[in-house]
Symmetry: C2
Subunit: 247 residues, 2 copies
Amino acid sequence: MSNGLIYRLEQLEILNSEDFRIIDTLLVAQRDIPEHSFIINEKHAQQYIHFVLKGWAIKYKTLENGDRQIVNFVLPGDIISIYSPIFLNAEHTVESITDMRLGYFSSGLLLETMRNAPRLAVALMWMAGQDERVLEEQIVRVGRRRSTKRMAHLLAELFRRQRLAGFSYEQARLLPLNQLLLSDALGLSHIHAHRVFRELDKIGLIARTHNTIELLDIKSLVAFSDFDESYLEAIVNPTMIKILKPS
Amino acid sequence: MSNGLIYRLEQLEILNSEDFRIIDTLLVAQRDIPEHSFIINEKHAQQYIHFVLKGWAIKYKTLENGDRQIVNFVLPGDIISIYSPIFLNAEHTVESITDMRLGYFSSGLLLETMRNAPRLAVALMWMAGQDERVLEEQIVRVGRRRSTKRMAHLLAELFRRQRLAGFSYEQARLLPLNQLLLSDALGLSHIHAHRVFRELDKIGLIARTHNTIELLDIKSLVAFSDFDESYLEAIVNPTMIKILKPS
DNA sequence: CGTATATTTGAAAGCTGTCAACACTTGTGG
DNA sequence: CCACAAGTGTTGACAGCTTTCAAATATACG
């Protein structure tokens, strides 16, 4: 598992070697940041598009009263807010929760790429669409699932997303999360998140160590949470592919 | 208020007359559909990109147990799931809740436009980004706001979105919604939604008639719900505009 | 006019948040 | 290496919010 983004794009099976060469040029600019760094700041302008080579971040919004709601987790292989440069000010904050390695490129380069590399444009749109699907699932989760299954469902998603970024089964079982982060993501008080934790613990689905959650039984976790991974599937509509290759 | 999409794009101030001419060609294909029609079907392939000329729809996902969660409302001036054609199967359903007039165009045309009209491409990305912002706000709403303010916050958003699509103040005060729809959107039981309704009624924020909610006091509604409209702002980052016009 | 859909009510149960302490871990500086 | 501070995790009790159940009423539509 070297580069989650490339791994994901390979799965799509729409890019050719020239496309990957272009991606290589995007990979030039990289930087390492420590835990608790801000990548995007609410109410601030954003110039670059980032993508994650290593580490995790959270994307959240802060309320009037200081509460925060984590909107999504940002994993290796994810692009961070592809749209940010379009807007004057960001509406959410993106903050690292582990050490990270990021790649980044300018919005101008994005536009150029969308223009000159139609397959890459579709791939990027696919990434953005994927992101939207994850957000929608988060709405369903928070709106319609009870705390325990809500937590389990999120954990199942995060496992699956790590797998889709090329993590091995064993690696993907480990999530760099704690109680606070999960309660802020699930719309629960941290005290109730603790109750939920204990319950999942008791039925043998998870184990916890400092800042790491270990998924002990993926199959049961998926069944218990009614997790249906179809919204994460990495398949491009064949019609779209036909349009790309009008041979 | 003739065409909400054009109205919104005009506000962006990045398109020129040639761009609007291209849009005109996209406007050729239109159809009218009655209330309760399916525009996109969960688990079905999607070929066209739709946009709303008239009427409202809901975008929702159905759970294992038959519950549904409305993920977003679809209003005049909105594009319906710009990404749909990329995926093999839709992950949500879009269903009209009033009579509607839709425009539609093929995914091939979308790609071509993104390629040949960079300003339009940015405009479309802006639309998609706007959509994502609305989803994120919905997550915050459902995750971190209590029922009454949650409802008020959503109503304030919908008013604002109608205004941004060119509705007059008086028109935008009317929402074609009922109790069931709002409870499914807010993650509440319809019984609790009813309690909330009565409360908003009592403090004079709304009035209800058959399938229409009337907002009586926008200012108080916004204040009561801590509604901050900044996530809906129609401003493109100047840097982006500069990139488009490298004069 | 009857049926289906939507709204309304009251009561009870259940889930989740809040409060107030306390314990534990980690990282820092002496 | 120890002590302390800060952050995170843990507990129990209780209040409050929301769902569920059961049933009645209203409204729309054919």
